[in-house]
Symmetry: D3
Subunit: 235 residues, 6 copies
Amino acid sequence: MELMMMTMREIKEYLKTNQTIIIPIGATEEHSDALPLGTDTITAEALAKRLGEVTDRVVGPTINVGNCHSITYGFTGTISISPTTLISYLKDYITSLHYHGFRNFFFVNGHGGNIAPLRCAFDELANTLTNSKFLVSSWWLMEELKELYDNAGHAGRGEVSMILYLNKSLVKSKFLTEEKRPMPKYYVTNDLARKYITVTGIINDTQEGSFELGEKLFNASIEAMAKLLRHLEES
Amino acid sequence: MELMMMTMREIKEYLKTNQTIIIPIGATEEHSDALPLGTDTITAEALAKRLGEVTDRVVGPTINVGNCHSITYGFTGTISISPTTLISYLKDYITSLHYHGFRNFFFVNGHGGNIAPLRCAFDELANTLTNSKFLVSSWWLMEELKELYDNAGHAGRGEVSMILYLNKSLVKSKFLTEEKRPMPKYYVTNDLARKYITVTGIINDTQEGSFELGEKLFNASIEAMAKLLRHLEES
Amino acid sequence: MELMMMTMREIKEYLKTNQTIIIPIGATEEHSDALPLGTDTITAEALAKRLGEVTDRVVGPTINVGNCHSITYGFTGTISISPTTLISYLKDYITSLHYHGFRNFFFVNGHGGNIAPLRCAFDELANTLTNSKFLVSSWWLMEELKELYDNAGHAGRGEVSMILYLNKSLVKSKFLTEEKRPMPKYYVTNDLARKYITVTGIINDTQEGSFELGEKLFNASIEAMAKLLRHLEES
Amino acid sequence: MELMMMTMREIKEYLKTNQTIIIPIGATEEHSDALPLGTDTITAEALAKRLGEVTDRVVGPTINVGNCHSITYGFTGTISISPTTLISYLKDYITSLHYHGFRNFFFVNGHGGNIAPLRCAFDELANTLTNSKFLVSSWWLMEELKELYDNAGHAGRGEVSMILYLNKSLVKSKFLTEEKRPMPKYYVTNDLARKYITVTGIINDTQEGSFELGEKLFNASIEAMAKLLRHLEES
Amino acid sequence: MELMMMTMREIKEYLKTNQTIIIPIGATEEHSDALPLGTDTITAEALAKRLGEVTDRVVGPTINVGNCHSITYGFTGTISISPTTLISYLKDYITSLHYHGFRNFFFVNGHGGNIAPLRCAFDELANTLTNSKFLVSSWWLMEELKELYDNAGHAGRGEVSMILYLNKSLVKSKFLTEEKRPMPKYYVTNDLARKYITVTGIINDTQEGSFELGEKLFNASIEAMAKLLRHLEES
Amino acid sequence: MELMMMTMREIKEYLKTNQTIIIPIGATEEHSDALPLGTDTITAEALAKRLGEVTDRVVGPTINVGNCHSITYGFTGTISISPTTLISYLKDYITSLHYHGFRNFFFVNGHGGNIAPLRCAFDELANTLTNSKFLVSSWWLMEELKELYDNAGHAGRGEVSMILYLNKSLVKSKFLTEEKRPMPKYYVTNDLARKYITVTGIINDTQEGSFELGEKLFNASIEAMAKLLRHLEES
């Protein structure tokens, strides 16, 4: 059930028995020459919709563009909303839904750069809204996927596999490559991104993914997220 | 061609010969009990994608949620980004694309409440960016559709027809109704919205639309927009 | 009756029977070499004061500087408040008056660039204030003046006539000229303003105005505005 | 010479030999039942215009509404722009003029609550603009007027005299009164304003002013300000 | 009693009988080659702690960095928080304490550039908080120290003496010098700071201070502040 | 070496050979009835100063108050700076230092709620500053302390031990207690904090700490941080 496809009346009906909403949030960001710019959004949206189906919960409008202000900003095609703006945006988005009666906000996140702004937004809403819970699930960070994901990097094996599974035609196979190098434990200004982080747009990984791995990652994510959603609602 | 489905390399290639991007912007907003909350976004996105096809231009990520801070904010399901936040959001979105080389920004708009924030964003960018043009086309306001559209209102005949054409299953026919009343020439605070503007969520119109009218509106919009896009690039 | 000329006690008295305030908002902006930089403010203020007289309503302090962030910003003498700042300014201004009991806010606007920020401010106040109405009347856009105004442009026949009528000495006749060229349907960054919009500061018009036309425009404006003000209060 | 009454060409001419602008900034604020709400603005504007005449310098558009967020906010008719908004407003105002070539900014201030926001604005511009000077002259704080002004308070003898001199009809003599009480050295939240500061709107003074005192205060202010302006330009 | 050294339970206990908090606010700012960058903070903190001891009042966490956006920003080591950010910071700081029950806010200020932002913050809180008082005491501006302080300037005799008294080892005596020149009555942009204000980082003073003068200044400050604190609580 | 204790000249000297600064950032936040409100700041500051000593690097002014907008905001004594304000504050702080020549920013963090705002600030600076690196080390999250720290919670064994080691008198032993309960994986609004997270102010832990454990934690932190600092400078 997607909120954008439902009517006002249907949402009113839904809210009588359930106050949960699933919100996909991704990014529009370079993912090497082989993967589409929308990789994070495509993945988050697919996960959120499937999760909505298996749990019978409403899915809110996808947040297509996220915070990519560092590392990838200088790579062609990346669109970024600054953290401060994204915090305001999330606050407005959540506040509207809270006004209508939603209380459990389950974010299906596809992009690392969104985690800090999401946390900041929740903190700023903590004194303003009432009786609400916020949860962020980032598939590549889930305990249950640890072995499968195996520390894959940005635009690496994990994401290649996900996109192969979700929409194979979007993977430009002849440009699959790798960039393996030790990552620093610090952040850098963007003029240093190519020197310290990535030239190809891949962060410390190969791109040896597969449809099968994608399928496994996707299904394991859904299973883990469905469990988290029950945790959100029932604990 | 959708930017989110393309790779960094493909965008670089595109930019060598063309600096235009088409950007769909809609809203998630009550549209009576008969039309989906995503009516404005669904319409804007469909128009933008078709326009991208017929003109061979890149389409950016859809802005799914817009400014609905007045009138419909109090109707279940409406999600609104405040004008000030939306202005910041648009500035960040456009500035990223400008950084990569885009210069012609063609917005396909599905929602009246976005027009003022779009104008404000352009004004704030006018001193900051260079060599760029911004155009907003709102299908229901286009001269070429005047006769066809015939002053239809929010959630009225025009939008019913568009959604019947684009995705018939989203129209809940048994709730089609009408609300006809003289509209004031002023804005009101939201506590007065039902008294002065709308109870059903329809603004001064019937919902007597049709697939055929939708088809005509859609095609006429595409034709007019394609002309505008040439105007943007060539004049 | 001007609020700035009245005492606290007089305003208290006024509010007992009426909650309307008329607010003039203009701009300080180049108007070619022949018209004064304050053209928009002078016109808006004169209209507001006359309207206050004929309707016996209080007139608030004039907003002398508006949003001129695009097109004219680069022309000597233009002062501009950015849209985001102007929105905040309008919200503070209106909120103070609302706090004291005003409920009907009638803006007499002299400048196109203010329309979007005004709308944004009203939207942001729609959930915050209560029981209030906001109306913007821009004389050159009024249906009743359509024939008289005849699509005159910025610093063109219409404004020349208005200033001739209001304060003839401010029109530097020997610099009256014209700049006629097809206007684009898009906005441009300011580095393109002279190329696409105007070199003289006139936007697509001659400056063949007259005292008589000014008088007619002024009087027709007042008549139409007085009607609108009744509409604001009574409907 | 008022900038709003001058043309673009006249400002260009002026800037060839002088980069000074005089800017009146006042307030719209209760001044007891006897003095008009615009007392601070009326005074600042009159001083600025006269100063402009005697020094042959351009006077910018009056800032009619200032920061009255504390003490008087709760008194009918007071309109206040919050400090943060006023800082942004001043930055936009000054930045536009700097862009055109002005370098010496002489503020004629009529209201105490503007002093802190003015200073904050200058500080925020100090790293952004170049080669510029900012001066604030508040007539009632000038060393040269110390004896004449004799510690008069808000809406007290000094302001009564100024308005009697500038526009006698605006003083409602039958409501002239006094409120004398020891003032605290601290600020209070507005719910405590009547308890700690003022009930009548007068701050610790009588209202025993005179036209003659007003004339002296006005002339002494002009003399002192003209000296300050030379200091601004020449030192 | 320092709030940071106390437990939640101890603060609850304190609040049962007293709602006053003393807050030290300073700056990290060049103070010539002879005095430490933390001169203003060191002084404010020492005064606040002693004041807390003699009055048995709680001292809040020190605000180590203040507004130094003008004059000294370009001198090595100065750290500055912009006025607008500092206003937000102060509002958050005070609002938290108000939420817990504090009502009397006594700021011990060590830096001139903080005075305007403090006033702005109080003004913005005046309508939001209730039943509260705010007082700023800047030692070098106190009437009681006028004779002792004798118009000493930034990094001059007064501050040298204070630091000699508080922590002699921080004064690098061999770099003590002087810079005496007439000060302008205006503010300048930072590119003009060395030309109009200071080359050494001293503002119009010698550095002929002494431990004895420091002791006197410190003790006189404490005495005057203790009196002010009683005024805050009892009047 | 503390920047606040050094002179402008000493910082200039330092910058000739080193561009690193260590910045302690903590919080003023309830830590149960047994630990002081400044626990996070006291720890971060002590670690930063020791780190500065062992590495011979400059330590910047301590950021005493952090982001505690969720969970602990409602517990007496907590002072919180909102994430958005903290982001602005950090940007101003870092930008000043960058202006003077610092390029390696090593944050010693004592509080979990600061991690998201720090990341957001770095992201917003990534396009603005150049040639810089930012590193955040939060002692309780360091791999090297994993075994020692053993998943201790807020105000639990780990922090008790740290404060026993750093300043035993600040631990109010008779109020040492425990609160052990399963923690949710979601955030909650503050009205739910006591129901879902903590009643005592301890988050899922006992308070069975010791001086010895504190000493080990402290020393292990310093060792790990010194290694990280070399990584920051040399890799």
